[in-house]
């Protein structure tokens, strides 16, 4: 997915342009368009750093500080990953974005039968605090913040992050972590869910409540329009569904007697950048405004800094092609340009070889350099929101705002996000769209460079299958052996009594409405394994059953 629909005549002139969100673009825009849309500078934009923050959440944006770069990193054992972390930091990266392998994401230890063949494959394998000690060795946790790409067991990893920091001598007040922790999006796309919806949301609520009380610099949840878009949502739906998910989490936390004002400032977002450039820019500008407006008007949030839509705008995986993979280097640069023109606060780029493999050091650094070139050479730090006032961009931003609100209304008509996911409404809609788009790509209705429509296969327009110049990151069976051996050693040397006691405390909390987080921190310090802690949740909560998707 990723391109607009272009309706052309026989001479290749464009007759109509329709963006994925359903907006038709005119050949030219002028002052009359802004007038027709009722555009007002004060109401719709405001100065950078001022409500409703359409232009920027900070008055000086990149003038005061360039974006934070966080390439998604992690594979093999914690030692391997630690080496790559250090390489990226030595090369100027200022935050981490940690990838976990599938067994860890699904709450299984490396020696579980279901982990076979997957240990260390798509991220690093973490079984206990001992592994976190190796992974974060030598990383200054008071200066480097860490995004943790973990969802179903995010509470466990957040607790383990606190435990490792304490082990290294930092206080929990100094550390900054952003676990992804967005279970509802896992149920729409990406699929790394374990527990039934209501228990999943409760765990998210526990972590938010805990962060508000105990982890002053951490952001307990990163709401991911990103993966929803990857699964087939339009840019307008990406934002609408992310906001509806946010509302579900807000509801859970406010039921605990905590006011939105006290926690919504800790929410962050992970949003996607691929697709039509203008549509992305309008999306981000509209999203900043709508988020601030929603919090202020619906939830009575007053403090400006609690109204900021902060987050990582980056990635772009579904925009990349397997065909002619080097083209993805250029695609990434344009996606990053869109992110910079939208004032992305934090960013990361999928590397050009990701349709094939875990990025090599060379391709990961190429992504980092692409991001640096924009800031240091191209001029994206010069002035805030440079496209403001463009007849086209402002009209489009207003239209995007309307589309996002329409999509939100639909979810609310279904009864909100928890219900929409439980019933499968959202999943069905998104899958159907992914299917329609894929059909369009195969028929030539949508065009992507290097992707040959079926009707042109084998004709002179088909360049044939080129051997991809991609160096494959090899999976190493030895990682699993090493993880299993470490686990055996851990089970032999740790204090079993501590483990049993802390797990018992966890079980008790899970069965009642007591917050599980303090118990998880204790479990981690006692070297309980991820599989043991998740096992307690599995036993108490059970597992989710997906609704039919058609």
């Amino acid at each position: 997915m990723g391109v607009a629909k272009y309706i052309k005549n026989e001479k290749d002139a464009i007759k109509e342009v329709i963006y994925q969100s359903g907006i038709t673009v005119k050949p030219a825009y002028g002052p009359e368009d802004l007038e027709r849309a009722g555009f007002s500078y004060e109401k719709d934009l405001g100065a950078p750093g001022e409500y409703p923050f359409t232009r920027s959440i900070h008055p000086q944006s990149y003038r005061s500080r360039a974006w934070t770069t966080r390439q998604y990193t992690g594979f093999g054992t914690p030692e391997e990953t630690n080496e790559r972390f250090r390489l990226m930091i030595a090369n100027g990266q200022n935050g981490l974005n940690v990838a976990f392998d599938l067994p860890t994401q699904m709450g299984y230890d490396s020696d579980h039968p279901l982990a076979e063949g997957e240990v260390g494959r798509v991220g690093m394998a973490i079984d206990s605090l001992r592994d976190f000690e190796a992974a974060f060795k030598g990383i200054p946790l008071d200066r480097i913040g860490s995004g943790l790409t973990i969802n179903a067991v995010a509470t466990i990893m957040m607790a383990m992050y606190q435990a490792v920091a304490e082990k290294f001598g930092y206080s929990k007040n100094q550390i900054s972590t952003t676990p992804q922790n967005d279970i509802l999006k896992e149920m729409i796309g990406r699929g790394a869910w374990i527990f039934p919806v209501e228990h999943g949301v409760r765990l998210v609520g526990d972590s938010i409540e805990y962060a508000v009380k105990e982890l002053p610099k951490s952001n307990p949840v990163s709401i991911c329009g990103y993966h929803i878009r990857e699964s087939g949502a339009t840019p307008a739906q990406e934002i609408a569904y992310a906001f509806e998910i946010a509302k579900a989490y807000i509801e859970n936390v406010t039921q605990r007697g905590i006011k939105p004002e006290d926690f919504v400032g800790r929410f962050s977002f992970n949003l996607n950048v691929y697709g039509n450039l203008w549509e992305q820019i309008a999306k981000f500008r509209a999203a900043r405004k709508l988020w601030a407006k929603m919090l202020k008007e619906e939830y009575g949030v007053k403090d400006n800094k609690n109204l900021f839509l902060r987050g990582l705008f980056g990635g772009g995986g579904s925009g990349l092609t397997k065909e002619q993979p080097e083209n993805n280097i250029m695609r990434g640069a344009y996606y990053a340009l869109g992110a910079a023109l939208s004032g992305a606060q934090t960013t990361a780029l999928c590397s050009f070889d990701e349709a094939y493999t875990i990025p090599t050091p060379r391709s990961a650094l190429l992504s980092l350099r692409t991001l640096e070139i924009l800031m240091d050479e191209v001029g994206l730090r010069d002035t805030v929101d440079p496209l403001a006032g463009s007849y086209f961009v402002e009209t489009l931003t207003l239209e995007m705002e309307k589309k996002i609100l329409e999509e939100m209304k639909e979810v609310e008509k279904w009864g909100g996000m928890v219900k929409s996911i439980s019933n499968g409404f959202v999943q069905r809609k998104v899958s159907r769209q992914a299917y329609e788009f894929e059909k369009g790509l195969q028929s030539g209705e949508y065009r992507k460079v290097g992707v040959v429509p079926v009707s042109e296969k084998g004709t002179d327009k088909d360049p044939g299958t080129e051997a991809a110049a991609v160096e494959l990151h090899e999976y190493n069976e030895a990682w699993a052996e090493k993880s299993k051996a470490n686990l055996k050693e851990l089970r032999r040397t740790r204090n079993d009594k501590d483990v049993a006691e802390t797990l018992k405390g966890l079980e008790k909390a899970a069965k009642t409405s007591e917050n599980v987080m303090p118990h998880l921190v204790k479990c981690c310090h006692a070297y309980a394994t991820v599989g043991e802690m998740a096992g307690v949740f599995r036993q108490v909560f059970g597992e989710w059953k997906e609704p039919d998707f058609y």
């Binding site: 599938l102 994401q105 494959r121 869910w193 899958s431 195969q442």
Partner: protein
Amino acid sequence: METKQKIRILIAKPGLDGHDKGAKVVALALRDAGMEVIYSGLHQTLDQIIQSATQESVDVIGLSIMSGAHLPICQKLMAMMREKGLVHAKLTVGGVIPHQDIPKLKEIGVAAVFPGGTSFEDIINGINNLFE
């Protein structure tokens, strides 16, 4: 089988990977092509896949594998299919599959392989051809 009878296919996601867009869009394409499609849902063990295939008496099992573990998974499933007497059903696989692995999969007994980028038309024809 008679050509008039609808082909019954189980689209299945073995293992822990949750990237199901590919499986779902192929399921929709096959259904639109007139086949009877059963979708397993995520995180299936091979035992569960065998069980669903038997219960639904499908003609084809279509695995979707993105993790790179297609060779060991297909090998194991073929052996289980033989063991459980599921001999009439054909095994097919799609996903992130390097071209050099296709002959190896065929050797194991996989009837058809559809690596990422295969068009719906080729998948539909590929499955229909299994019953020509």
